[in-house]
């Protein structure tokens, strides 16, 4: 397929996944902000901006980092490239550029999503409730992924879509997990307290992992297990390992199809085995934040390698 097509398919999938994850991040932040705390809203909402890498453009607006401003900026602002609005527009534009490569159902799904997003404004968002909007975004992303999975031929186009989805999801799960590092607890005595508990629970819910946690551990929520669930559990669809299992599968599929060795395949396999054989103790010895930072850097490097290998 055309290099340009591979690039568009990959970014189409990344952007729709990014929109979903942005909704998840805003959702968890919103849930956390509803917990009683002595601190101001800034502490609550800054992390959402930090993990989206949007704190500088937000600062340029000279607005207070409180719920309304951040949600407006991260959900609706057409001039903010990380906003859900911008992600959906970019996903649709990439699909538009490559309509011949995707199924009619995929195009219709993305196009309908964009038409609805375009008509969204803050008043409507308040009327439907923030949570209702976040659910809608997740829902549209689920639908799109389901349509892609259910209608696409299992060819190279499908591989590029899947690679885009899971590379983006890995990045996002790592960033969401890192939220806790940025959300400072009011004081040391709060560690392990009620606020701490609710924050971890909110985080789990944001990645659809709360019930799984209960089912697997049948125990209180502690950071180490949350991290294990989202990093090393292969059966958790948003965990880093699960993402890398999908990534290596699809990159190996491309390698077999094109009969070439690629740097991106090697890099993905390397990260995959690190996750597959990694131990929670070592991760916490290194420090969770440090571990996640290193992971995010490697994930970015993998993205560059994929671009060099297939899209130039």
């Amino acid at each position: 397929m055309l290099s340009r097509a591979a690039d568009s398919l990959y970014w189409m999938a990344r952007y729709i996944e990014r929109a979903e994850n942005m909704a998840r991040i805003l959702d968890v932040t919103y849930r956390m902000s509803l917990l009683p705390t002595q601190e101001g809203q800034e502490l609550q909402w800054l992390p959402a901006l930090i993990i989206a890498g949007a704190e500088k453009p937000f600062a340029a607006r000279k607005l207070q980092a409180e719920a309304h401003n951040v949600i407006k900026f991260m959900a609706l602002d057409p001039d903010n490239p990380s906003s859900i609005h911008s992600c959906m527009r970019a996903a649709r534009e990439n699909a538009h550029a490559m309509r011949a490569q995707i199924t009619t159902e995929m195009w219709e799904s993305l196009n309908a999503t964009w038409l609805e997003m375009r008509d969204q404004d803050y008043a409507k968002l308040v009327a439907s409730g923030f949570r209702g909007f976040f659910d809608w975004v997740k829902d549209r992303s689920h639908t799109f992924r389901g349509v892609a999975y259910g209608t696409m031929q299992r060819d190279e186009a499908f591989r590029f879509v899947r690679v885009g989805t899971f590379l983006e999801r890995a990045d996002s799960t790592a960033r969401i997990l890192d939220v806790k590092y940025h959300v400072l607890l009011p004081s040391v005595t709060d560690v392990g307290g009620a606020v701490d508990y609710y924050q971890w629970a909110a985080l789990l819910r944001s990645v659809s992992g709360f019930r799984a946690y209960r089912k697997i551990y049948r125990n209180v929520i502690v950071p180490k297990r949350v991290a294990e669930l989202l990093i090393l559990r292969e059966d958790m669809p948003r965990s880093l390992l699960a993402c890398f299992t999908e990534l290596t599968d699809n990159l190996a599929g491309l390698r077999d199809l094109y009969r070439r060795d690629y740097e991106s395949t090697r890099l993905a396999l390397e990260v995959h085995s690190k996750l597959k054989f990694g131990r929670m103790e070592d991760i916490f010895t290194q420090g969770l934040h440090e571990y996640l930072t290193e992971f995010i850097d490697r994930n970015i490097a993998l993205g560059h390698a994929i671009h060099r290998d297939f899209m130039k």
Binding site: M1, L2, R4, H96, A100, T104, N111, E156, Y258, R260
Partner: protein
């Protein structure tokens, strides 16, 4: 010309509906207007969901909009179509023979049937094409021939489109939407299908690929890109044919061979269905400032390593001044009488015609020879005195650039408009495919002037489209 003299394809001249429309007339009578309105809205939603829009350009920007779709189909009998089809095949054969001739021996010029200067000094005549031999001697692989009707039996060719005719996607989507909205009509009529057009197109393209490409040539569609007004159609056709939709930047020429850049490396290309004008194809051979083309493409074409559809240099055959000679081409190359007539046309390069036209501007349609899309024209009876005088001064400067035709009473078809179902003027563009064989998918694109009394069917000026039915007799 007034409404009353136009031939109505449903009503004809009598009180009863003409035979092809018999059942449709009942249906129009018996269907409550609310259902029409409801289905018209449903059609809008379908078209928008499918993303069938076209870009309209105006000063300072552009916008995507839908071409209005009319839910009342146009019906042609099998018999009407049969003679039309024979006329189309004949005409396109003659146009291809003409194109081969003027780029080779120029028999028709030497025989004095077409003035040499009209061809050889025409900006559409591509000297670079002289002596190049094309597979099957086909130049215009895809031709859109615009027909208008004035009476029960009189069809005229309004113009030939043999460069990169567009609109076929509307023919296909109009049918698709009609079948979704009014399945009952299709069970009560025997409508000949059109959905195989993309297959026929692909077959045509493959049949004229370079011999060296073997049994399985690689065919691509070359588009100027997403800002082009027909981009939706390029996407649609590429998808339907299962071929790559490429832009100039996706292609690269090495040693006179064309390749596309793919995720698996470079892949050789054999046949290009191009929707880019000649001038922009190759900055090395034509316009050096073209950002859309592929440097070296024409060199590869000359060597026969890649084929283009349509060929380079076809524009000379649909030049509006050359148009007047197409019936002579049919006689000259095929030794037959033309089945389809031209609209009587005055050529302002001829002194007698010039004099007549200047005296009758108010009754005529005057067109610029190289214009398209309904711009640069004067519709005499619809213009004010001042508009006519302004146009007169423009024409005087370069009379050779203009032709004139009588304002035809274009036939009307029942059309769903605000006031209900009412007659509106239509034309028809059938698509003729030429490769090893000639194929015409039954019907074509019917364009309808939605404004009452208007004769301008162009989508850029408020025209809409209709599904066009050819019935099995």
């Amino acid at each position: 010309m007034t409404e009353s003299v136009a031939f109505d394809e449903m009503g004809g001249t009598g009180a009863d509906a003409r035979l092809p429309y018999a059942q449709l007339a009942d249906w129009l009578r018996n269907t409550p207007p609310e259902r029409f309105e409801q289905q018209r809205r449903a059609a809008d939603v379908l078209f928008r969901r499918l993303g069938i829009t076209f870009a309209v350009y105006f000063e300072g920007g552009s916008t995507e909009r839908l071409i209005p779709f009319d839910i009342v189909p146009r019906v042609l009998s099998g018999g009407e179509w049969k003679s039309m089809e024979a006329g189309l095949v004949q005409r396109v054969k003659a146009l291809n023979a003409f194109l081969h001739d003027i780029y080779h021996d120029q028999d028709i010029l030497r025989a004095g049937k077409v003035p040499s200067d009209l061809v050889l000094t025409n900006p559409q005549y591509q000297k670079e094409m002289r002596g190049i031999d094309l597979p099957n001697r086909v130049y215009t692989h895809i031709s859109g021939i615009d027909l208008v009707r004035t009476t029960e039996h009189q069809f005229y060719v309004l113009e030939d489109n043999v460069r990169t005719p567009s609109g076929v996607s509307y023919m296909l989507e109009d049918r698709e939407v009609m079948m979704r909205l009014f399945p009952e009509l299709f069970s009560s009529h025997r409508v000949r299908p059109v959905g195989h057009y993309p297959d026929e197109l692909l077959k045509t393209l493959r049949s004229v690929a370079p011999k060296a490409a073997g049994d399985d040539p690689t065919v691509v569609l070359l588009t100027p890109g997403s800002f082009n007004s027909a981009y939706f159609e390029h996407v649609f056709l590429a998808e339907q044919m299962g071929i790559e939709l490429v832009e100039g930047s996706d292609l690269v020429v090495q040693d006179d061979v064309v390749y596309m850049r793919t995720s698996a490396g470079l892949v050789k290309i054999d046949m290009i269905y191009r929707r880019i004008d000649d001038a922009f194809l190759d900055p090395k051979a034509f316009r050096p400032d073209s950002m859309l083309g592929v440097p070296g493409l024409f060199g590869a074409y000359r060597k026969g390593n890649v084929m283009l559809a349509n060929a380079v240099g076809t524009g000379i055959a649909d030049d509006k001044a050359v148009y007047t000679f197409v019936p002579d081409m049919v006689r000259f190359y095929l030794g037959e009488e033309p089945i389809l007539e031209n609209v009587p046309t005055y050529s302002l390069r001829k002194p007698d015609d010039y004099k007549y036209v200047m005296e009758h501007l108010g009754e005529l349609v005057v067109k610029e020879v190289h214009g398209s899309g309904g711009y640069g024209m004067l519709v005499g009876p619809k213009s004010t005195k001042a508009e006519i005088e302004t146009f007169r001064e423009i024409v005087k400067k370069t009379p050779d650039n203009y032709i004139a035709q009588p304002t035809l009473a274009l036939s009307t078809c029942p059309t769903f408009v605000e006031e209900g179902v009412a007659p509106r003027h239509v034309d028809l563009r059938p698509y003729v495919l030429t490769g090893e064989n000639i194929t015409v998918v039954p019907g074509g694109l019917t364009r309808v002037a939605l404004r009452k009394g208007s004769l301008v069917v162009n989508s850029s000026q408020g025209g809409g489209t209709k599904d066009t039915w050819v019935l099995e007799d």
